[in-house]
C-alpha cells in the first residue's frame, strides 16, 4: 500500500519535473512542508493558545498569533529562497566506479537571495551555499557510483530550511545528461605474452603464421592496419583480414584475452591494463567485441579507451526510461552487440 503510494508520488513528481539539464525552480516544482521542528512548533502554538484561553490572557493570545504569523511568513520566505533559483548541469563527471563522481553545476539565484541551499544526491549532502540575488556560483556534487556505465543521478535534491528551520522547501533536478563511471581496475593476470589455455582451448588457433585469416568486408570501427590495402588498390574493395595471430599482440588489449572470466572482470583487467600502458607511455589499442580503438598513446587516448570500457554493452540512458542511477538495469549482457554493430 505504502510502496504503491510512494510509486504514484514518484510518477507524479517525474511528470512534474521532466529530465533536463537546466531547471528553473518556481511554484510548479518547489514543494514545501513543515519539518519535525515545525510540527512541534505547531503543537507548541496550540498549547500556548490553550494557555491563553484558560487564563484569559490577552498577551498570550498576542504572542501566539505573532509566532503563528512568523510561521506563515517563514513559509513565504523559505519558498522564496528557492523560487527563481536556476540549476544547470555544466559537466557530468567521469570517474572510477565505486567512487563519488563529481558533477559540476551552476546555480544562479533569481530575484531573491538564495540562502542556505543544500544540494544533495542520496546520502551525500553538500555544505549549504548562499547566492545573492542575480549572482551565480558553481557547485560540484559528488554522485556516488556503484557500477561502471552511464551514471545519471535520478534526482538531485535542492533543499532549504532557512530562515528558521521550521519549514523545508525542496525541489529536484533530474539531469538529462549522464556521466560515466569507468570499470574499477583489477590487476590483470599476465596474459599478454602467451595465449592462455582455458576451457575453450578448441577455439585457440595456431599462432605461428598469418595463414589463418578470415576475410570480411570493412565495417566501421575496423582498424586501418587490418585493411588489405593491396587488395583495395586492385579492386577498390576494402577488405579486412581478421588475423588470429593478432590476438596475442602486446599492442592490443583484447577483451578475448581472458577466456573463461566474467565480462565485468575482463573489463576490470582491461581498465587496469589501460592504466598501466598509459603510465608506461607505449602505444596500445583496445579491442572490444563490437568496438575497437586503434593503437595510440596519450591521455586523451586513455580516456577514450576508458570510456569505451565503461559503456561497453550499455545503452545511453534515455528520458523515457528513468532508471536508478549507479546501477545497471537488467540488460541482457550475453548479447553485448549493441547499436554500433547493427
Amino acid at each position: 500500500m505504502i510502496s504503491q503510494l510512494r510509486s504514484r508520488w514518484q510518477q507524479w513528481v517525474h511528470r512534474r519535473i521532466p529530465r533536463s539539464d537546466n531547471q528553473l525552480l518556481n511554484q510548479k516544482n518547489v514543494f514545501i512542508l513543515p519539518t519535525g521542528a515545525g510540527v512541534v512548533f505547531g503543537i507548541l502554538l496550540m498549547v500556548m493558545l490553550i494557555t491563553g484561553i484558560n487564563y484569559q490572557n490577552s498577551l498570550i493570545y498576542l504572542i501566539t498569533f505573532l509566532l503563528g504569523a512568523v510561521f506563515v511568513g517563514a513559509m513565504h520566505q523559505t519558498h522564496r529562497n528557492l523560487s527563481g533559483l536556476e540549476l544547470t548541469l555544466l559537466q557530468p563527471g567521469e570517474g572510477v566506479a565505486g567512487e563519488d563522481i563529481p558533477f559540476r553545476f551552476r546555480a544562479t539565484a533569481g530575484p531573491n537571495d538564495a540562502v542556505a541551499v543544500r544540494l544533495s544526491v542520496d546520502d551525500s549532502v553538500l555544505a549549504p551555499i548562499h547566492i545573492s540575488a542575480g549572482q551565480a556560483t558553481d557547485v560540484v556534487i559528488p554522485v556516488p557510483s556503484a557500477y561502471r556505465g552511464y551514471l545519471r543521478p535520478d534526482r538531485i535534491r535542492i533543499e532549504t530550511r532557512f530562515p528558521f528551520g521550521l519549514l523545508k522547501a525542496w525541489s529536484w533536478m533530474r539531469p538529462a545528461s549522464a556521466g560515466i563511471a569507468f570499470p574499477r581496475p583489477l590487476a590483470a593476470p599476465d596474459v599478454l605474452s602467451s595465449v592462455p589455455d582455458g576451457s575453450d582451448a578448441d577455439n585457440v588457433r595456431s599462432v605461428e603464421g598469418n595463414d589463418h585469416a578470415d576475410l570480411r568486408p570493412w565495417r566501421e570501427g575496423d582498424m586501418s592496419q587490418r585493411v588489405m590495402w593491396k587488395r583495395y588498390a586492385r579492386s577498390g574493395q576494402m577488405v579486412v583480414a581478421d588475423w588470429e595471430g593478432e590476438q596475442g599482440s602486446p599492442h592490443w588489449l583484447d577483451f578475448d584475452a581472458f577466456p573463461g572470466t566474467d565480462h565485468e572482470m575482463r573489463l576490470g583487467y582491461l581498465a587496469y591494463l589501460v592504466g598501466e600502458r598509459e603510465k608506461r607511455g607505449g602505444r596500445y589499442g583496445l579491442n572490444l567485441p563490437g568496438r575497437a580503438i586503434d593503437p595510440d598513446s596519450g591521455a586523451s587516448h586513455a580516456q577514450r579507451c576508458m570510456r569505451a570500457l565503461a559503456v561497453w554493452g550499455e545503452e545511453p540512458p534515455r528520458e523515457t526510461l528513468p532508471e536508478p542511477h549507479g546501477t545497471r538495469s537488467d540488460q541482457d549482457l550475453t548479447h553485448p552487440m549493441d547499436s554500433q554493430s547493427a
Binding site: 521542528a37 512541534v40 484569559q56 549532502v125 553538500l126
Partner: protein, 696 residues
C-alpha cells in the same frame, strides 16, 4: 574556487542533522534566556537563578573549549542534586510559582545537554513557553517588550543556526525578521481583534504561593505600617463623573470584627461559592455619571474594593453583606470591574441589628487592656452613643497623639499602652484602639480595612491608589443612622485624610524610607514624578485596551460594528482572516515570481527564440541542448541557419562559461541582435517564397 574546495573537502555525510551549534546562535539563545528570566527574578529562589547562571555559563565556556561538557555520570549527579534541592525548597506545595521554577530548572539543566541543533530546538521551544508563562505574571508594557525581545532574540538565533556561515552582506537577521513581522502585522492585529475569546476550557486557578503585597484578612497593629513602605499600585479608578474629594476616597475592602488578643480577624467564614469564570474585564461601554471602573492589580484574593454606598454594575463582582464586593474567583490577574455610587438615602430608617450581630460587633477578648475597658465604661456613663464617639475623637484631637510610621513596640496590653502611655501609632493602632473602647462602651463597631486616597495619574483621567494608601478605620452602629464611619486618623493627622501619607509623615521623613527605588519617594523631583506618571498612563491604556481585551470587551467592540456579531460569526471571521491572509500571501508571491521571470532578460531572449522555433514548425524538446535545437532549426529553415547556430553557441557560452556575470550585458545585446536577424532572414525568405510562388 575556495567554495569548490571547501565543498569537496567536506565529508558529505551527517552535516545536516547533528551539526554542532554555532557560537553566535548559542549566544542569542543565552541572551534570550537571560532576558526572559528577568521578569521572574522576584519569584524564583536565588539558588535557582544562580544555578541557571552557572549552567548556562558552563555551556558557554564549553563552546570555546575552555571546559568540557559533563559526561553522563556527572550530568546525572548535577541533575539529582538540583532536583533534590528543588524538592527540599518546595516541600510539597504545588503552586504556579513552584511549577514555574521547575520549568526554569528544566531549562537550566538542558544547557548541559545542548550539543546538536536538535537540542537547540528543544531549548527554543521551552524558552518560548517560558515567555508565555511570564505573561501570566506580568503584563505591563515594559515587561511585554522584554518578553517579546527575548522571543525575537530566539528567532534571530534560529536564523544563525540555519545559516551559520552566511556572508556578512546577507546576514541582517534583524532586518529579515522585522520585515517578516511587518508584513504579517495586519493579520496579527485582525486575529487579535476577531479571534473569538471563548470561555476557559477548564478552570485553573493561578494561585501563587507567594505572599503579595496588599491588605490581608487579619490585622495586627503593625501590619498596615509595613504596607505603607510599598509604592506598588493597588488599583486604578476611572470615574464617569466628578472625582470625589480626597477625604471621601474611602475604598472599603474588608470588615474585621473579631479581636483575638492582638489580632483583628473576620469573624465569619466567607460563604463558599464554587469558583466560576471571572470576566477579567467588566468595564464595558461608556461610564455613567455615577459609575466608576476599578482596574485592580492581582491580589490572589477575592476582595474587590469599592467606595461606600456602591452597587455592582458589572457581572464579575457580587455584592455581599456589609456593603462589600467579592469576585467569584481569586483575582490572580488584573481585573476590571464597574461599580456605581448610590444616592445616600437620608432619613430612611436603617435595619435593626439582630441579637447575633449585636453580639458579634461587641465581642472583646476575655481579659487584657483594663484601662481601655475602663475608659469605655466611663464614657458610656456620661454620654449616649454619638457622644461617646465625639468624646473619643476629641480626645485624639486634643491630647498629644502622634501619627507615625515608626511606632514604638507595645507588647503587653498594647491598646492601653497606646492610649495612655506612648500615644504614638499608625492608623491600624488607632482604629483597633477606637473599636476596643467603643465596644467596651457597648456600641457595636468594627474595623474596615481598605485604602484611603489615591492621586490622579497623568492627564488626570484616573486615580492611582497605591499600597501606601492602605488604611484602617472604624464603623460604629448608631441606632437610627446605621453604620457610621469614624476615622480616628482624621482626628490625629488630618493631612493623611486630606492629602495623603506623604504630607502626614513629612516631618518624620519616613515616607517610603525603605523603598529607595520607588519613583514615588522622589515626589518632589518633578521630572521623576512626571516620567513615572506618564509610564503609568501608558500602562493603564495598555492594560485597558490590549491586556484587558477579553470576551466582554470583544463583544462590546463587535456590537459597535454593523451587523450582529456573535461567537459563531467571530469564528467565521477569524477563518476568513486567516484564509484571506494566506491567499493574499500566495498571490503576492505568485506576482513576485512572475516579475522574477521577467527579471531574467537572458532567459526571456532564449524563450523568444524558442517561440520562433515553435512558430516555424520546430518543436522544442525538453532537455535538448541549444545546438541540437539550432541544427534542427537550420534543417527546417536554411535561410536562418547561420544565425541560429551562432545564437546557440552564444547561449552555450553564456551558460557554460567560467565567468558568467562579466560579459553578461554584452552577450545579451548580441543575442537580441541575433534573434532580430533571424526573424528578418525568415521574413525575407518567406517573401522570396511567395514571390516565386506567384511567379510560377
Amino acid at each position: 574556487m575556495s567554495l569548490l574546495s571547501r565543498i569537496m573537502g567536506d565529508s558529505p555525510s551527517d552535516t545536516a542533522s547533528v551539526a554542532a551549534i554555532p557560537s553566535r546562535a548559542l549566544a542569542w539563545l543565552v541572551a534570550s534566556f537571560a532576558l526572559l528570566l528577568i521578569p521572574q527574578w522576584d519569584r524564583l529562589p536565588i539558588w535557582l537563578l544562580a544555578a541557571c547562571g552557572v549552567l548556562a555559563g558552563w555551556r558557554w565556556l564549553a563552546q570555546y573549549g575552555r571546559v568540557r561538557l559533563p559526561g553522563r555520570l556527572l550530568r546525572t549527579a548535577i541533575m539529582l542534586l538540583l532536583i533534590s534541592v528543588y524538592v527540599a525548597t518546595v516541600s510539597g506545595r504545588f503552586t504556579v510559582d513552584t511549577a514555574a521554577s521547575f520549568f526554569v530548572l528544566a531549562v537550566g539543566l538542558k544547557w548541559l545537554e545542548t550539543r546538536s541543533s536538535r537540542d537547540f530546538y528543544v531549548l527554543l521551544f521551552i524558552v518560548i513557553y517560558l515567555a508565555t508563562v511570564n505573561f501570566l505574571f506580568r503584563q505591563e508594557i515594559l515587561w511585554t517588550l522584554v518578553n517579546l525581545a527575548g522571543v525575537a532574540c530566539l528567532l534571530v538565533g534560529l536564523q544563525v543556526l540555519n545559516a551559520p556561515d552566511l556572508p556578512a552582506n546577507m546576514r541582517s537577521g534583524w532586518k529579515r525578521l522585522g520585515l517578516l513581522l511587518l508584513k504579517t502585522l495586519p493579520i496579527v492585529i485582525l486575529l487579535f481583534l476577531f479571534f473569538p475569546r471563548i470561555a476557559p476550557l477548564w478552570s485553573v486557578p493561578l494561585v501563587s504561593g507567594q505572599a503579595r503585597t496588599g491588605i490581608s484578612d487579619s490585622m495586627r497593629p503593625g501590619d498596615i505600617s509595613n504596607l505603607a513602605q510599598s509604592s506598588e499600585r493597588a488599583f486604578r479608578v476611572t470615574f464617569g463623573g466628578e472625582l470625589p474629594a480626597y477625604r471621601d476616597r474611602y475604598w472599603r475592602g474588608l470588615v474585621l470584627d473579631y479581636l483575638d488578643s492582638e489580632t483583628w480577624k473576620q469573624s465569619g467564614f466567607e460563604s463558599y461559592r464554587p469558583p466560576g469564570k471571572v470576566d477579567l474585564d467588566g468595564g464595558i461601554g461608556d461610564l455613567g455619571a455615577r459609575e466608576y471602573d476599578v482596574l485592580m492589580e492581582p491580589t490572589d484574593q477575592r476582595w474587590a474594593f469599592g467606595l461606600e454606598n456602591s452597587r455592582a454594575v458589572s457581572g464579575n463582582v457580587i455584592e455581599q453583606d456589609d456593603d462589600l464586593f467579592r469576585f467569584r474567583r481569586p483575582a490572580d490577574t488584573a481585573v476590571r470591574y464597574r461599580l456605581a455610587r448610590e444616592e445616600v438615602s437620608q432619613g430612611s430608617p436603617a435595619d435593626e441589628l439582630s441579637a447575633l450581630e449585636t453580639r458579634r460587633y461587641l465581642q472583646l477578648p476575655v481579659s487584657g487592656n483594663p484601662r481601655a475597658r475602663q475608659l469605655g465604661r466611663s464614657l458610656k456613663e456620661q454620654n449616649d452613643a454619638e457622644g461617646v464617639i465625639r468624646a473619643m475623637l476629641s480626645r485624639f484631637r486634643d491630647q498629644e497623639y502622634f501619627y507615625t510610621l515608626r511606632p514604638p513596640a507595645m507588647a503587653e496590653n498594647g491598646i492601653d499602652t497606646l492610649l495612655f502611655d506612648e500615644k504614638k501609632g499608625f492608623c491600624a493602632h488607632y482604629a483597633g484602639a477606637t473599636t476596643f473602647v467603643l465596644r467596651a462602651a457597648g456600641i457595636p463597631s468594627r474595623i474596615v480595612a481598605g485604602y484611603q486616597g489615591g492621586e490622579p495619574g497623568a492627564g488626570g483621567e484616573y486615580l492611582i491608589v497605591r499600597q501606601y494608601d492602605a488604611h484602617a478605620w472604624v464603623e460604629a452602629w448608631i441606632e437610627g443612622r446605621g453604620w457610621v464611619r469614624i476615622d480616628p486618623t482624621a482626628a490625629i493627622a488630618p493631612q493623611r485624610i486630606e492629602s495623603g501619607l506623604r504630607e502626614a509623615v513629612a516631618n518624620e521623613g519616613s515616607f517610603l524610607e525603605e523603598d529607595w527605588a520607588s519613583p514615588q519617594r522622589y515626589g518632589d523631583v518633578r521630572l521623576i514624578q512626571w516620567a513615572s506618571l506618564q509610564l503609568d498612563r501608558m500602562n493603564y491604556q495598555w492594560q485597558r485596551w490590549v491586556v484587558g481585551y477579553q470576551g466582554q470587551s470583544q463583544m462590546d467592540l463587535m456590537s459597535r460594528l454593523p451587523g450582529r456579531f456573535g461567537m459563531k460569526e467571530l469564528g467565521y471571521l477569524t477563518a476568513a482572516v486567516v484564509g484571506g491572509g494566506l491567499l493574499l500571501a500566495g498571490l503576492v508571491s505568485a506576482w513576485q515570481m512572475r516579475r522574477g521571470v521577467r527579471y531574467d532578460a537572458f532567459r526571456k531572449t532564449v524563450e523568444g527564440w524558442h517561440m520562433l522555433c515553435v512558430g516555424n514548425g520546430v518543436p522544442v524538446r525538453s532537455g535538448e541542448t541549444p545546438s541540437v535545437l539550432a541544427e534542427r532549426f537550420a534543417e527546417a529553415r536554411p535561410a536562418a541557419a547561420d544565425s541560429a547556430r551562432r545564437f546557440a553557441r552564444m547561449v552555450n557560452s553564456h551558460y557554460y562559461s567560467a565567468s558568467p556575470s562579466k560579459t553578461a550585458a554584452a552577450d545579451l545585446k548580441r543575442l537580441r541582435r541575433l534573434l532580430a536577424t533571424m526573424k528578418k532572414q525568415l521574413r525575407r525568405s518567406q517573401q522570396k517564397n511567395r514571390k516565386t510562388g506567384t511567379r510560377s
